[in-house]
Amino acid sequence: MSNFIGLIRNENMKIYRRIANLIMLALLIGFIGLNGIITKTEKSAPVKDNWKQELKAENASMEKTMKKEPMMKEHYERLIAINEYRISQGIKPQENKNQWKFVSDSPDAIQFILIFTIIIAGGMVASEFSWGTIKLLLIRPVSRTTILASKYISTLLYALLMIVITFVISWLLGGVLFGFEGSPRSFLSYTDGKVVEENLIWHMWKEYGFASIMLLMMATFAFMMSTVFRNSSLAIGFSIFLSLSGTLIVQFFSSYDWVKYILFANVNLKQYFDGTPFIKGMTLNFSLTVLAVYFLVFIALTWIVFKKRDVAA
């Protein structure tokens, strides 16, 4: 086991001792900083004392629009229900500018984390081949399976570290810009026609959790491409392309029945908790099964190819 920790430390050393990878980290922090500055300078109307009347007026206008646009019915129903809940429970709408609101918006950064993780995953095995170092790496008394596992786990640890950094930097920056607050306010979510009061931080971690499924699947996919094709540009390019166009692909084929078996139709589990499933009849268990099958196929392919390959590069 101590051997395995050594391998993880090796992989980490190879990730964090490279300037290019540190620049990615700087970009992520830069993005959060920019977000903070924009939020700080942005003008927003203060919440007035007669906020109950204002919410009622807002609901009335939304109900009108809802009749004109039946497509958007669910979206408006949700907003109206939340507003009504505020009025009946006397929960004042929050101003946009406070530390916890800023922190709870931080899952937006996961788009960047996704791309950066794909870049790391796509280079993980392919770079060893292009550097020629694979020959010295694979002649040690360590099985190929163990080496592959250490590389995969290091990739996931990188993604995790990025999330933690995002959270910590957001919290610090939010505190500096908007003043530190003790406990977070509550968040109102709408599920199955009911409004539920939730802890804001719990809500935020749920957002991270949902987004992490995509992160995990695409990191695994990029890692597989890296191992199978030994070409980091191909692995990274193809994985980023799929990540960006995934939703589009699903929409394009949405008239076919088999679209529900596409990875990207299942990757957003939020659809089962907050809102409605993408395709009627899809369930959480169905999506979890599809995800598990994709995941196992990716891992199995990666492992078999890495294990069997003659290193001739």
Binding site: N3, L7, R9, K14, G132, L136, I139, R140, S143
Partner: protein, 308 residues
């Protein structure tokens, strides 16, 4: 020299696709010797080395290292091996020291002092904390050697070990490899295209061509074996000498010069010819024999094609 083979190749075969590129190599390598692996480009040297370290799988036969099968007991077998396969490619963005730390974490029981000792040994102490990308090829070669020796292997495999070294560096490495073999009883396996290098460095040489073993011989035997050599006798009377030598050597194998006679003969014949000359009353001022170099021999054996 111990007589227990450290590396055994038994009918090793390799197929790529349908084509067999290694056709049944068998030979043993012992502790305490420097073993040369010689062959023209594309003969299968590197493929064989890759199979010895487990980078490639065997299609047939087996390779034993210290009695352990590289295929079925990979970890035990490979823990006895230190190697540089082709160029010593290191992580260029890390320092030399970080590279060594990296490899030390992959084996058991390499201490910091062992790393320092290896750094000292290959003469990189001053530069070890600089990034590898600032190193010359020779320095990378030395770092490669340090990496291969970290875990005190009993078999050291080096592909083109003197590649990119200056003459002083080559002499140093040669000296060091000999010392490793003689003092520590390590089996050192080198492949090289520098035949003259192999001649000075190796105890035994295996020649392969087209994936087949042409022969394994001691370097000395290899150079001297069987074939005839030209022997030049400096004499006072060339014509008389010709008559005397013709008792042993046919006329067409002799050449006459100004004050000397040259004849092709086997080594054992030299004293007899000399005796005849003396008996016939011819004054012999000197005898010189032209030794064939490994290079001549190699060209002779492999047909002189594609030697790089």
């Amino acid at each position: 020299m111990s007589r227990k083979p450290l590396v055994e190749l038994q009918d090793v075969r390799k197929k790529i696709g349908r084509k067999e590129i290694i056709h049944g190599l068998s030979f043993n390598i012992y502790g305490g010797e420097v073993f040369g692996f010689l062959g023209p480009n594309g003969a299968g040297k590197t493929t064989t080395i890759r199979m010895m370290v487990g980078l490639m799988k065997l299609s047939g036969g087996k390779i034993l290292i210290n009695g352990k099968n590289i295929q079925t007991e990979y970890k035990q077998a490979v823990s006895n091996v230190g190697a540089i396969v082709e160029n010593p490619e290191m992580y260029k963005f890390l320092t030399g020291y970080q590279n060594l730390i990296h490899y030390s974490r992959m084996v058991k029981g390499v201490s910091k002092s062992r790393i320092a000792e290896m750094v000292e040994l290959v003469g990189l102490t001053d530069r070890i904390h600089e990034k590898v990308k600032t190193y010359s090829l020779g320095m990378r070669q030395r770092l490669g050697l340090a990496q291969a020796l970290l875990h005190s292997p009993s078999v050291l495999i080096l592909d083109e070990p003197t590649n990119g070294l200056d003459p002083a560096g080559i002499r140093e490495i040669r000296h060091y490899l000999r010392e490793l073999a003689e003092k520590e009883g390590i089996a050192v396996i080198v492949s090289s295209h520098l035949l003259s290098e192999m001649e000075i460095m190796c105890d035994r040489i295996a020649i392969i061509q087209h994936g087949k073993l042409i022969g394994v011989q001691s370097t000395k035997e290899f150079v001297e074996s069987g074939s005839t050599r030209k022997v030049r006798f400096l004499v006072d009377e060339v014509a008389a000498a010709r008559h005397a030598v013709s008792h042993h050597v046919k006329d067409e194998r002799m050449t006459l010069g100004n004050g000397y006679i040259e004849a092709e003969m086997e080594r054992d014949l030299i004293p007899e010819v000399t005796a005849t000359l003396v008996v016939e009353g011819i004054k012999v001022y000197g005898i010189s024999s032209e030794t064939k170099t490994l290079e001549d021999k190699f060209l002779e054996v492999t047909g002189g094609k594609e030697v790089v």
